[in-house]
Symmetry: C2
Subunit: 522 residues, 2 copies
């Protein structure tokens, strides 16, 4: 098909030349917005495109050394077989087709939620635009949820904005914060490794990206000294105005300690930084030693001098947690201590896109307002939620343990979120081979992994990593059975890869270790 | 509440000064992104905010000279009482809660649509991310729809991108097209009056807005000479690269003739302009003398030299037409003759936001793939669709006729879309009064209208108008009964306004004319 397109292009330009003029397209790589060109977004980058091509090829009967592509590149739970939470879908279906409110096959608590949401919609329809900030009663439910989550720290629904997934909120807040030219241009501190939405948005807005490196040797912890270093270095050439934190970490899976959060907030307070805390994995904490602490709650506990001054935006989403409802594009942000005039500007900015999808808002409402113990759907809801989170916890542990039995792979504990970000040893000869192909070494690694095994991962270079280190990000979302297959295939590939590029080195671990580790998950 | 916030702000800054430092917020009107500050978006501007305040006041028992706010400011059908199309909501509910596929209370054709959509979703769930371009089978359905609409002009689903409402697509394409500095900065030609999404996006991207004025004396027709004038004038200070057309017109309600579209396309071809045709009102044509012609079909009929070269993006949405599903944020764009490398860049840009809401994609699918005559839902679907479009046609005619009986108001025929954009005579003394308040005269007019009658309209200045002329935009969406009330109140207000500011002028028409005109709609 592409060949046909190219032939048509050639044909039509020839024809035009015959007509006596050569016609250039208006929009070419030469005239394209350079900010768009500069953007990179690895989670849906070339590897993923290639995986799609292979998948279509398999369907059309093409031969590959595998029968199935396993996509572990993106946190897309339902695509990996996770079932939707029944209660959430019941409420959305009731809101979508209110005639079902008369049906006896829906539980009363789902109907009550749906009626309440519809009351808040213009014309009682999910088809009306909501206010740009979202449906009032859903914003109120979000505020109540946050107060309960944070053990009574007050939440004002006037500070809640519903969003189109968390990405939309993050981009909107960043957009507000970018100003200045040259040395006074806004600098945005982001963790490395990071979720590439941040680097993409920063590059699109021509802000200055300030990298602070997470400490891989210390379970990807955030080191306050590294923050100071990065800040001081950046001050020379830009105006650092924002610090972004992802907790639990994406792609790194660490869960921040309360002490560490305090240090970050104190730092932000001292340096007058706007804090953006990406907390979309707040329900995804697996390690028994870890606990989720919201930035807001910690700020509150630091006292009013902090709580009443530090500008903080925190983000949540329907896409992660135990519901995994990515397709609904639901989310919210809570913004503290925003200047009143600036608040009006934020609402104006959001109003250009009119409103977040209202069905996504409804899904968000269920997540912040789930069935209570006395309600009819409580037991089933609780069972489904626990099953999802339990399986994720098991898979987090399994992924770490198995990966650590493979020679040349080292994986930190997956304390939370949905990803492992193991470090992989790539022999110097493989590095050279990749360079000669004009490719980053981990990109070559992931490309070969895909071509030889059908496993689709994202190279570490798409998230950022310390110079000379290599990683990949994989989700822990495939079903336990599929994840085992994935990990074994990955192991075999990795050993083969090492043998190919470093044949003389002796592996430090044996295949027996992997089999031993796998046993406990059988 | 606001007073409390202000007191808290003062209190905390006093406290900080006592602590020996004055702390500035990080994000203030002074440090806010100037591009965000520059943006205006009248459809949800100050009048609408005020209307919301008054509405809340009424609910809390505040006294006003009316009992209800009538919002005719935005094309939000369901909020104005229009009922959803049953078939569309059935399909969305089935997709949201697939257990309903076993229910006998849903028709087979709705189930068949839902099964097909779910087949196209990862894990057969609406909760998975779709590809950034949208679900494949929905894009295929869109292509089939376009081919049928355009009587066989070929449509390739590879050129179809599903979007988050039409706004999202429009902003994405504009973003691609903005480049250059100074005199080579991209210029974007937009109609005046325009839908303020365009001016907002242009201002946010710091592109150059090139106004071409629609001809009010000629039913808001697009005059090709005016295009040439605007283009030539703009060439002096920017690089005109795009022309935007809204057909049927928003806010002006005109429907473009085929000849006029040919002229525009020829002009774009000659001047190498990228064409963006906003065709979200393609189903909203009321005048029996008018017909919707898609830009694509006209381009095709101009011959292969045009059809194979002119870069054209056309936009559609679930929000308008007969379905009015604004809250689902569904839409699509078809992009022709895009350079292949640029296409990959567009997909990359779209992928940062991951995907459009999948339930909105499902809604879009129903609109392009409605029940066929032999299917069980056909009759009801057809009845509902005709009822909506029939009522709109009647209200379009009524609005024009009644407004034209009011002295000092002149309204062009509402041939299509959902709005009237009448010209209003504002006496010089009222203009002076507004100026002294630092307000545009039509803003003052609309503000007083809101305060005195509860009717919420948008001033013409939010859409652009020729210097010295004044307008407002009103939707024709209130129910027929409510629309009559609105028009009578508006008439009384306008006459009172004229008497107040031009007491000596004799009105050219009498109240009898209005009553006479109203009669035919009783």
């Amino acid at each position: 098909y592409h060949r046909l397109s190219i032939m048509l292009t050639i044909y039509s330009s020839v024809r035009m030349r015959e007509n006596g003029k050569t016609r250039e397209k208006t929009l070419t790589m030469g005239t394209l917005n350079p900010q768009v060109k500069a953007v990179e977004y690895a989670v849906r980058g070339p590897i993923v495109t290639k995986a799609g091509d292979i998948e279509r090829g398999l369907q059309q009967g093409q031969k590959h050394p595998f029968t199935e592509v396993i996509k572990a590149n993106i946190g897309d739970s339902h695509a990996m077989g996770q079932k939707p939470i029944t209660f959430l879908r019941q409420v959305v279906a009731l809101c979508s087709f209110p005639e079902l409110l008369d049906s006896s096959s829906f539980p009363e608590d789902a109907k009550q939620r749906a009626r309440r949401i519809l009351q808040g919609c213009g014309g009682q329809s999910l088809g009306s635009y909501s206010a740009s900030q979202g449906v009032d009663c859903i914003r109120q439910d979000v505020a109540v949820y946050i107060e309960q989550r944070d053990k009574g720290v007050p939440a004002d629904w006037d500070n809640i904005y519903l969003t189109t997934g968390a990405s939309d909120g993050i981009v909107s807040i960043l957009k507000m914060l970018v100003s200045g030219q040259g040395r006074s241009r806004s600098g945005v501190m982001i963790p490395i490794p990071q979720y590439p939405l941040y680097s993409a948005a920063i590059s699109e807005m021509e802000a200055v990206q300030i990298n602070y490196y997470l400490d891989e040797d210390n379970c990807w912890a955030l080191d306050i000294n590294e923050l100071h270093r990065a800040y001081q270095a950046a001050k020379e050439h830009c105006h650092p105005r924002v610090i972004c934190i992802i907790n639990p970490g994406n792609p790194t899976g660490q869960v921040q300690s309360k002490k560490c959060i305090e240090e970050v907030l104190h730092f932000a307070y001292e340096e007058n930084l706007f804090v953006m805390s990406d907390e979309v994995y707040q329900d995804n904490v697996y390690s028994p030693d870890c606990q989720f602490h919201s930035f807001k709650k910690v700020l509150y506990e630091m006292g009013p001098e902090y709580f009443n001054t530090v500008e903080l935006a925190s983000f949540h989403s329907t896409s992660k947690g135990y519901s995994g409802e990515c397709g609904f594009r639901g989310g919210y942000m809570e913004v503290l201590n925003l200047d009143l005039e600036v608040k009006a500007q934020l609402v104006k900015l959001l109003s250009i896109r009119l409103c977040p999808p209202v069905s996504g808002q409804a899904a968000m409402d269920v997540i912040v307002n789930p069935p209570l113990p006395h309600e009819p759907s409580y037991l089933q809801f609780h069972k489904e939620k626990s099953a999802v989170l339990g399986a994720l916890a098991e898979k987090a542990q399994m992924t770490e343990q198995i990966l650590n039995t493979v020679p040349g792979i080292k994986c930190n504990p997956v304390q939370g979120a949905m990803y492992a970000f193991p470090r992989i040893f790539i022999p110097p000869r493989a590095v050279e081979a990749a360079m000669s192909l004009g490719m980053s070494p981990d990109m070559m690694y992931c490309l070969r992994l895909l071509e030889e095994t059908g496993i689709c991962l994202v190279p570490g270079s798409g998230f950022g990593q310390r110079e000379g280190t290599y990683h990949f990000r994989m989700t822990i979302l495939p079903t336990t059975e599929k994840l085992k297959v994935l990990l074994e295939k990955l192991r075999d590939f990795h050993i083969k890869f090492l043998k190919e590029y470093a044949p003389l080195e002796e592996p430090k671990r044996s295949e027996d270790d992997t089999q031993e580790a796998l046993k406990q998950f059988r």
